[in-house]
Symmetry: C2
Subunit: 320 residues, 2 copies
């Protein structure tokens, strides 16, 4: 009896990605001997077609984005990648070309980030594709970066540039003129893994910015029972983003609340600023001081370019 | 700024389920110190509304089934449950009552099976609900049950009863008269965890039957490079299933190819039959010898009740 198409699909597209403990993706589960002397770090993020990515995004970048949004969670914990499991719910009729591209994207990023697939599931869905990935990383015991820990007067830092993801989505939706840099930043976030590990023992608190800077900063504040002042004028912008803001200054606060940044947001003692700069150099990832933590209520104060206080309409993205 | 509804939803329904390393589900990832001296066993299964469960199934049983189909993979490896991560893609407008029921089902089965949630993601989907779960268990190193290992002349065993899941689906779809036992077996599979651990060192090969007995037996055969003869007359049937077959004998081969059994299918040397019976007694789970493995091509031969050979129209379920 011939194997049904589901197994051919897995064998053809996903088995080449399988790591040592994956048992060729042909057993009921995978085996993993945890690296001795390390703590495991685990996260799971899902992406839905039309919600987290555009239906006509190239399948290569969809696979890579799925891995990278999860890798970004490892980066936020200061962890190093180890392996992942993935479930894909795909519409019947998904083409072999789409699957080939999707798997090729995963293969490339597996290599680049040093991790392997351990297992998963492939099912059909009478609706949009729904992709879910569980990522596993490791840290030396007790050294993971956590969201709690910021103290009043700590500096507030962010990596890379803010707003490119939200602007990239606007570009791809035709709300802004074509810009390859911005489109790429929406489709291919850059997980700041090297910076995350370099910040172990330096940052007092950290998280990744995925749902909007202001909203995510609120999480850091609540976790640390501190407030924060965020200076919009200090936001690190890419040349593309700076040009957009130059043309329409109303974009600036929207960059602080748009999603899809996947940068690291972290707290460090003012006296550790040189160590932060050193971690940045070691990782090859720029960092910018964009504000400070404060005493009192776990609230985010947004300072505009004129020094006045702003209240954004929405702190960030919510699914419900 | 108020938290968006997504976070309230997670806090209300999922945080009470969180285990020690889950960091209250409010960090970027979870931390897990693997139990020393154990190998980890990992699997991920997804369930889609209208594909793996019926839209009007009670939310309690949907949550429990999601856990149980994954626990069944652990059982097939002889592993003991430890923890899980879960992503839920839910239509906007999913009611608080549905979520309460779903979480209550998870809570009950977490307690009963001794595991805890470590993390996950909650997103919206413009389509049917799509639920994905990654389960983590442990085994003593090198003792996991595997699919490969059956040898010619080994006995072929199965746990529990076969066909109730497929019949339960027919009942719930109105193709068969109401039968609470069958409906429950479709909605609430029973992962054979105690039997799985008792079979470590006894079974030569094992897997769980989820996509249809004949198709899944084919996987055992290919993994072991052996053939198998399956005797339909020996299939263990529940009283409800026996009554259905009595009324319409054409159901019998369809029970061997229907899905949703979640029983253990395994190989053991004929001289180990007494050890298999002892494992069955220790686990409190019935087992039945339903055939034998054979030399030669990795093919499944189906013997009908009259001793003749049958060719089923379809070995089991395929998504594509």
């Amino acid at each position: 009896m011939a194997l049904p198409p589901e197994f051919a699909l897995i064998a053809r597209h996903f088995r080449p990605l399988a790591g040592e403990g994956a048992l060729d993706l042909s057993d009921d589960a995978a085996l993993l001997s945890p690296p001795p002397g390390r703590q495991l770090v685990l996260a799971a993020d899902a992406m839905v077609e039309g919600v987290h990515y555009l239906p006509d995004d190239p399948p290569e970048t969809i696979g890579r984005k799925l891995l990278r949004v999860n890798l970004s969670d490892l980066a936020a914990m200061g962890a190093e990648p180890l392996a992942y499991l993935m479930t894909t719910a795909l519409p019947r009729g998904t083409s072999a070309e789409w699957l080939e591209g999707f798997a090729a994207g995963l293969a490339q990023d597996q290599r680049d980030f040093g991790l392997q697939v351990l297992g998963g599931d492939t099912v059909s869905i009478p609706g949009p594709a729904c992709l879910s990935l569980t990522i596993i990383g490791t840290v030396p015991p007790g050294e993971a970066l956590r969201r709690a820990g910021a103290r009043p007067a700590d500096d507030l830092w962010v990596s890379g540039t803010i707003g490119d993801g939200a602007l990239g989505l606007a570009v791809l939706q035709g709300r802004l003129p074509a810009d390859p840099h911005l489109a790429r930043r929406y489709r291919l976030p850059e997980p700041r893994l090297a910076l995350g590990t370099a910040l172990r023992g330096v940052a007092r608190a950290a998280m990744d910015v995925s749902d909007g800077l202001v909203q995510d900063l609120g999480h850091l504040c609540r976790a640390g029972k501190v407030g924060a002042v965020l200076e919009l004028a200090a936001l690190p912008l890419s040349p593309s983003a700076a040009a957009v803001v130059e043309g329409d200054p109303s974009w600036l606060p929207r960059l602080a609340t748009g999603g899809d940044d996947y940068e690291l947001l972290f707290a460090a003692a003012p006296e550790d600023a040189a160590r932060v700069r050193e971690a940045s150099r070691a990782a090859g990832t720029s960092v910018t001081r964009i504000g400070r933590f404060t005493d009192g209520a776990a609230e985010v104060t947004l300072l505009g370019r004129d020094g006045g206080t702003l209240t954004p309409a929405q702190g960030g993205w919510s699914h419900f």
